[in-house]
Amino acid sequence: MRKQTPTSQPPGTTPAARTLAVIDIGASAMRLRIAEIGADGEVRALESLQHAVHLGKDTFTTGRIQTETVEECVKILKGFRRIMTEYGVTQPDQIRAVATSAVREAENRESVLDRLYMSTQINVEAIEGTEENRLTYIAIQDALRGEKRLKKGKAIIVDIGGGSTELLLLEEGCVTFAHSFRLGALRIRETLETYRAPTDRVRAVLDQHIRRVVDQLRHTVPVKQVEAMVAVSGDAQFAASLLSPSWASDRLVSLELKGFCELADKLATVPVDDLVRQYRIPYQEAETLGPALLVCEQLARVFAAKSILVPKASLRDGLIQEMVAGSTWTEEFAVQAIYSAVTLGKKYSFDRRHAEHVAELSAQMFRALLAEHKLDPRYELLLRIAALLHEIGNYVSDRSHHKHSMYLILNSDLFGLRRKDIALIALTARYHRRATPQPYHEEYQALDRDSRIAVAKLAAILRVADALERSHLPEQRAVSFAREKNQFVATVHDVQDLTLERLALKEKGNMFEEVFGVPVLLRAARAAKSESAHG
């Protein structure tokens, strides 16, 4: 169905690097980055544009985005569109545009996004906080590589935006906690303005306000103390450029907490107009600089971070990395997502060995059935996670544990995944046994058609994988899968007998056949010369 079309090239020339564009619509600015991806995956930024917008001001004070603001966005996007066209970036698969908290939280979000699409043909997607988490994590991978401090011990990664703050906890290099807080520098600035605090009290009000939110936040994060804090925001980069003027962009800069705090304290009291004049930064950046640095400072203090590490990275870097990865997740993210599923599994005392075996078999089947299911490679990760978590419902009760699994998953956060992805995982887990999807299954009906089909396909695979693991063996068996003429064959190597598995498969009904149109045949391949087939 989907053909992999390389960017059109005149014949006879060396294939050019791929050019793509990402747009990030934030609370106070819209930003465009056009980048070129070399054959080796090297990213080279060609253009960086930014324009101030009032989205955050609108949403955080009135709850909706004003018409004038939308028109302003349309104008800016049209300009972006022109610059993209200059670089031949015109195809939807070359462009990814996302909007964060200011649009996400606006009451009129859908109509705003429709208006943008209608007048610019750019499909802007309002992403969730958890996705921001994922993008932040992916964005800083390059900068963090080889950073030993983060491989051992604990560290937090914070991205303080205009409307939300993403916080990730890293333990021994693994993401053990991720959350998106409704704490943002512009939000704070707006709150401050509604207080109408007198100038000499501004600082005190600011401190008080930030301390209160940071305190709430501290109780959510399951650690008391970290070694280091990674600060991923434009404001932090600005502070770093002042504190460490020789900072080379490809390096992570490490700032002493003391110097950072002094600078934050100093800048927080400088009036916005003076910041603009003195440091030649755009007005919208000057507005949020003080609050953002103070939040950073407070976070570093409450978690007793010894140093603040600042990478030159942003949401846009994460977006670009994901586009480079194409229709798959980046490897770094997949590892962390699986890690977070395992963490969730542990919380509900899952049979880790069994879960991992099933996950591995499911993934193998997913790949073997590519031609049949025609799903994006991304679904492999969702299937893997569903397989890992399919039995966590046992923690509640083993009666109808598949339903409990679904509820537990639906009400959990999995690192970096959208609600929609999580629903897909939950339903896949739910259908690993018993009833197949039915019209009166509420959660199933809530999905869109594509997702319903995906769930059916994934659950069908999961059932087979689970059946193959019926014996809960200590070692994973070698199984190979192949599509034969009228059947799908799972050949289990080095076994004598598959009676139990066949029984299990039968017990799980013929969902596979219903979905894929062919039955599954279990074939035992005995050691060495194995060719014979059971009837």
Binding site: P10, G38, A45, S48, L49, G79, E86, Y87
Partner: protein, 707 residues
Amino acid sequence: MAKPRKEPLFFNRELSWLEFNRRVLEEAMDPTVPLLERVKFLSISSSNLDEFFMVRVGGLQQLLDEGKTRFDPSGLSTVRQLSIIRRRTHQMVADQYGCLLHELEVLLAEAEIRRLHVQNLRPQQREYVEQLFEGDIYPVLAPIAIESSATFPLLRGLALNLAVRLKPAQDSPRKQRYAVVAVPRQFARLIPVPATEGFQYVLIEDVIGAFVEKLFPGEPVAEWVPFRITRNADMSVREDQANDLLAQMREVLQARRHSACVRLEVSDTATYLMLKFLKGALQVREESVSRVPGPIDLSAYAALPRMVAYEELKDQPWSPQPSPQVTPNDSMFDVIARKDVLLVHPYESFEPVVRLINQAADDPDVLAIKQILYRTSENSPIVAALARAAGKGKHVTAVVELKARFDEARNIEWAKELELAGVQVIYGLKWLKTHAKVCIIVRREPGDVRRYCHFGTGNYNEITATLYSDIGLMTCNEDFGVDATAFFNSITGYSQPIAYRKLEAAPLGLRAKLLDLIESEIQRRKQGQKALIMAKINSLVDPQIIQTLYKASQAGVKIQLNVRGICSLRPGVRGLSENISVVSIVDRFLEHARVLYFHHGGESLVFISSADWMPRNLDRRVELLVPVEDRDHQQRLIAMLNLCFEDTAKVRTLMPDGGYVRAPSSGQGKPVRFQEAMYRLGREAAQRAQTDRYTVFEPQRPASAAS
């Protein structure tokens, strides 16, 4: 330390400008300059003065009329400035005519080039002129009779007219009356007449005057005199109210045609009656009247050297040489990809710049061209290339500065043409004039997208590039490409300005960067290091920059400035500026390049720039400061800056009292002449490159074999 000083810290900018124009006039008076070049300098000094009256005197006069008198940094009030200006310009005009009538015309006559009066023509010459009048001129004349001063016609500024006083016919009861005849602009001012030897010409106003009675049958002409007026042109679009800049700009052009008269030039043959009439009708004050003892508007003499063949009376041509860095007929993309190219015009040809844009227009891999156009030539090949590129589907963006003074009308014209061709045209920025000169070409190459940039100190005008000294830098360096596109995105409004890697731009960071660079020399000097600043600019007026330069001088930083025009800095004053020396060169080519050098502890920072050091350039214009990083290029520019100070022929040194003096002639050996030396260097380099090419055998392969 700061004890009160009698002398002000700054020179007044208007008076400094008048000093500059005097230096131009001195070239006309210099017997060592070829005769027809002297005529050219005289005409330049005249057209310079016209612009000065329109813009500067006009502006001051307007301030005064609006009752807004103020003091300039040198402590002069508006009234006082105007009165000094009037005095000095009267003297300057007297000197101009002294030079023309008593020196140049005498020498021209010796060379058989003569201006004749119609009454002195020989019969067949007179017949020729009369035929010309009857056949060509008379039909387009439109005399306007003046019944009262209320019916006085709207006169075009700077255009020549005849005022005619008519006696009533013998038996008529009417009073004497006046008429105005505009001299038609479609005819040359200097009209050659058949001559047996040499070159002889008459002036068109003389021809019309001689036959003027034919326009007023029955009314005897009592007198006729040529005159012209200069209008205040210091007005601009109220951009806060301008929704449509193009339309508003047209209105300004319209308004300029009605604006106040700041100068009335009239032949000194005019009678008291005639003068009284003109002053009254034009509402001109006595001090604004200039009675001239010869032809009005000497800028017309610019045509004379072109009309006559006498090569021995002209400069030896110094034609632009091909740059040794640029191989003929090669792709400019290949040339630039090999190494950055630095062009020093007019010693080196502007052709590579035109070639680059032409090749970009025709290259199938070029995606986009972005260019700023401030002033350009008529029938500009660059404008044509941009239109062609747009026609071929490339994304072409042109920032056309409509506000380029006196070029507005022409700019509006071709801006429209470009738009029709499919170019995205942007009329500069609100409030700011876009003065930076940059061209960016985005090209898809095997493997990646590359940006080729040209940065210049002069306009994209291949004609003036043979007359003005300017620097151009071509590069495909990534950092410059990123900066140039970011700069462009900020002008076109697609993005807010973002921090640059290499460039600095006015009005945002350029001033601060200059101050930083000067401060850094001060700090280094204080720590005992050598500190040196050299700069070549056109004007130095900005008080903050000057104050910082004073501070640097006081710290012991050596500062050598080559300021062609206005310089408000007072050099060589003990305790203030004794380490600063200022020179100015007025020679064959207009010194126009802005080149800066900072010693920076031996690291040598060299920049080229579009900006002069004036408040308007640093605060109200979009300008660029571009570092020159290639060591060879740096050395070339440093050598050039040093060479200015070695000039003993055309250089004048600014004195602490504001006067300029020539270098004392050393008496021994040939004097050093900067522009000549630059030309020689350029030619030698071109010749060397040519011989090198002859000694390297390069087989010519058919095009299909080329990779």
